[in-house]
């Protein structure tokens, strides 16, 4: 995963109590953690809560960590994913995914027949449909597989995913491979259902 240029130094300083260093890490990682959490929960309010709790937990735990050895990104993501797991356990969370209405299906229909709009309109529609399909696929995947895929998409290496999920490399390799195949199968099925 791409990291901050001076991340090891910032991590070291944050472990020693530097608020400035920690704030720099928050600024860089908050959007990433937020999008990961929302992709897994599909709940804006819950995402905000979990995101806040993630960084507060990290802040409180940092003084106990060894700054030289700590790889901040996998550690932070691990905290975030543990927050999600805890939330699911606590509420036996069943993710209800809102399906975005494709453009033109609402009461207020856009008259997008013009050529000028065609390019952007089709692009939007395709994006909406794709997001809808991915939403549905993600809810059908086992949580660990969904996490694996998202971490892979974020650019995490196997070892970083393994570190984040507290698993062995071999397990991550198998899980990711299975997750990719399952994702592809589910997506294709839903896509074909949508066409028919």
């Amino acid at each position: 995963m791409n990291v901050l240029e001076n991340e090891p130094q910032l991590t070291l300083e944050a472990c020693k109590g530097s608020m400035v260093a920690f704030e720099a890490l928050v600024v860089y990682y908050e959007p990433r953690i937020r999008r990961m959490l929302y992709s897994l929960t599909q709940d804006s309010q819950l995402t905000q809560d979990l995101c806040q709790e993630t960084f507060l937990a990290a802040y409180r735990a940092l003084p106990r960590m060894s700054g030289e050895e700590l790889r901040f990104a996998p550690w932070l993501y691990r905290i975030a994913l543990n927050q999600v797991r805890s939330e699911w356990r606590r509420h036996k969370h069943v993710s209800v995914v809102p399906f975005p209405t494709p453009m033109g299906n609402g009461d207020e229909v856009f008259d997008d027949t013009g050529e000028a709009c065609l390019e952007s309109g089709e692009y939007f529609e395709e994006q909406v449909v794709q997001r809808d399909l991915i939403d549905r696929v993600m809810t059908q995947l086992p949580p660990a597989s969904a996490m694996c895929l998202l971490l892979d998409a974020e650019g995490f290496s196997y070892s970083e995913i393994a570190e984040t999920l507290q698993d062995t490399l071999s397990a991550v390799r198998s899980r990711l491979s299975r997750a990719r195949q399952t994702f592809q199968r589910l997506y294709r099925t839903l896509e074909e259902e949508g066409r028919s």
Binding site: M19, F22, E23, V26, V27, E30, P31, R34, R35, M36, Y38, S39, S44, Q45, Q48, D49, C51, Q52, F55, L56, Y59, P98, P100, T101, M103, G104, G106, E108, F110, D111, D112, G114, E115, A116, C117, S120, G121, F124, Q127, Q130, R131, I134, L149, D152, A153, E154, S157, Y158, S159, A162, T168, L169, S170, R173, S174, S177, R180, Y187, R188, E191
Partner: protein
């Protein structure tokens, strides 16, 4: 999506392993990486398998085809999920402000704790919520629409309560006995975010009339109107201009406003503070003048048509910084500043850009379809997205509607709704006004149109058309100010919708011929003693306002007696152009 088909090739027992070890086989230094990180027995077996496959692959078309297919699928999946993540980011407001607020609080507590006597450790106490002011961003991101008062959920201080051991223990027992202890313990700090009760009680209005003074086309006054009481106060001396005064935004702290107007070939940029101290911030030749926005409470950014964007101190008028790189866009129209980014549009307002003022890097945020003008736009409190009313222009064959534009350029999304943008609710959800069943409804944006929530079913004015920028939500969300245009007699009215009580009242009526402009909600006290207007009562102007008593035009060299020029009462259905011709002091004739 395309899928490769390797079925025509003979099967190979290693194909499944190829897919499993795809990433290891593809890594340029995968062998080295694998050796470095493998640790378990399984890991070592995988390592060995990778080496075997590297030997096997060049001779096996089946495995090569399988790998090619797997690579294609992996690339597509990564791209799709990458885009999915970026979209997800845009769907949730940033929590950075909240996090920093709590961190700040904890830091304070640690400081207090360090200086306090030794305390009992490991004592579990309930969390409480306390308010904490925490500015983030410049707050002007919503343009003339209201910015949202951030809801800071603050985790509190165990240490605060720990100060008295005996008291804490007693309190814990009482809580436990009452059955509320558990409730507090389980409550997340974010479950009950605390709204900071900022006071945005009044609205700034610009009212202009045609002038009979030679060389002066319009006379304009700025009023502050208390939305609750209806009392009003004139804030500026009369402004003489050759064209309409253009109002920009209220300052982030609600204490000032920015506007500009043309006079004798020069566009004068000024604020309330500078006007009332007899000056202006800067002058620009009319042919080089564009709009301006607040950067923070003390600085503005002024766009020049030909020479970039200049940052100015509002008190001294001195330039702080010049951003000449923005001259590449002729007629830049500034939208928002959200540090470090300046958001702006091209002259036709069909493309949105942002520029990092620290690095100079510029980024196009929307494609140029040429079909829609994105105006007005408001930025959400986190700065992650902008919402725009898209208006059809002459190139458009589409209808207008609401759009969401990601601030980082990751996408433009039609929301499949029409209406007038209002602002943001305390949870940062977009509020907008739409006409449904012949009523103006205040709506809260949901994930889909069906999930939108109606916050007020029959907001005033009933059935009137609301133009762009004619409806504004108070930053603390208590109410809505709406300006309508009566289609029959051309008069205009200003309405206040109280969202907490679900009631509406008409604050003001402007006679035909007068132009009124909603500038924005403010935090300035209304010092006037004018009576509260009723539903049909006209605007009551304060005749003994200090601004009027000073009786100086802000345009140097044109000293006039402001009372003689414009001090009057506007009444329903009175043509004040006529009134200003005939009346010197007193009220318009009925």
């Amino acid at each position: 999506m395309k899928y490769s088909d390797a079925d025509a090739l003979p099967p190979c027992e290693f194909s499944a392993h190829c897919v499993l070890l795809l990433d290891d086989l593809d890594g340029p230094d995968s062998a080295h990486a694998v050796k470095r990180v493998f640790s378990s027995v399984d890991d070592r077996q995988d390592e060995q398998r990778v080496e075997e496959l590297r030997v096997h692959l060049p001779t096996c078309p089946t495995c090569s085809a399988t790998l090619a297919c797997a690579r294609q699928e992996r690339s597509w999946q990564r791209a799709a999920l990458g885009h999915y993540l970026v979209e997800s980011e845009a769907r949730v407001p940033s929590t950075t402000t909240r996090i920093f607020a709590v961190l700040e609080q904890e830091s304070l507590e640690q400081t207090e704790q360090a200086s306090a006597p030794p305390k009992r450790q490991g004592y579990i106490l309930p969390e409480i919520l306390v308010p904490l002011s925490l500015p983030k961003g410049n707050g002007n991101g919503n343009g003339h629409h209201s910015s949202v008062v951030g809801q800071q959920s603050l985790r509190l201080s165990n240490h605060w309560v720990r100060n008295g051991f005996a008291l804490a223990a007693a309190a814990a027992l009482i809580f436990a006995a009452a059955g509320v202890f558990g409730h507090f313990l389980l409550r997340s700090s974010a479950d009950k975010p605390l709204t900071q009760p900022k006071s945005w009680p009044s609205v700034l209005l610009g009212v202009s009339l045609l002038s009979t003074i030679p060389g002066v086309v319009r006379l304009t006054n700025v009023y502050n109107v208390d939305a609750m009481s209806g009392q009003s106060e004139q804030l500026t001396p009369p402004i003489q201009s050759s064209e309409e005064v253009r109002y920009e935004t209220v300052s982030p702290n609600g204490q000032d406003m920015l506007f500009h107007f043309s006079n004798q070939g020069q566009t004068i940029y000024t604020t309330l503070q500078t006007v009332n101290s007899g000056g202006y911030v800067t002058k620009v030749p009319d042919d080089d003048a564009s709009n301006a926005i607040w950067m923070d409470n003390e600085h503005i950014l002024v766009a020049h048509v030909h020479s970039g964007v200049v940052e100015l101190d509002i008190h001294s008028g001195l330039p702080v910084q010049k951003y000449a790189s923005l001259t590449l866009l002729v007629n830049t129209h500034l939208l928002f500043y959200y540090a470090p980014y300046l958001y702006f549009q091209n002259a036709r307002q069909t493309i949105m850009y942002r520029s990092n003022l620290q690095t100079g890097e510029r980024q196009q945020l929307t494609p140029d379809t040429g079909a829609l003008n994105f105006t007005p736009c408001i930025m959400n409190p986190s700065g992650s997205s902008m919402y725009c009313e898209a208006q059809s222009n002459q190139f458009s064959r589409t209808g207008p509607g609401l759009y969401m534009v990601s601030s980082d350029g990751s996408g433009v999304q039609p929301l499949d709704r029409r209406g007038a943008l209002l602002g943001f609710a305390s949870d940062h959800a977009l509020l907008f006004l739409q006409i449904a069943l012949n009523n103006n409804q205040v709506m809260k944006l949901g994930q889909t149109p069906k999930q939108d929530r109606v916050l007020m079913k029959n907001a005033a004015p009933p059935t009137a058309l609301i133009g762009p920028g004619d409806a504004m939500l108070a930053p603390d969300g208590h109410g809505l100010i709406v300006q309508d245009s009566n289609q029959n007699d051309k008069s205009r009215g200003v309405w206040y919708d109280d969202l907490t009580t679900q009631t509406s009242r008409k604050l003001l009526t402007f006679a035909p011929g007068s132009d009124a402009y909603l500038i924005g909600w403010d935090q300035l006290p209304v010092k006037g003693k004018a009576p509260a207007p009723g539903v049909t009562t006209p605007l009551a102007m304060v005749q003994d306002s200090p601004a009027i008593r000073r009786s100086e035009s802000i345009v140097s060299g044109d000293v006039v007696d402001a009372r003689e020029t414009i001090s009057f009462r506007v009444k329903d259905t009175v043509d004040c152009r006529d009134a200003i011709n005939r009346v010197r002091v007193g009220e318009c004739p009925a």
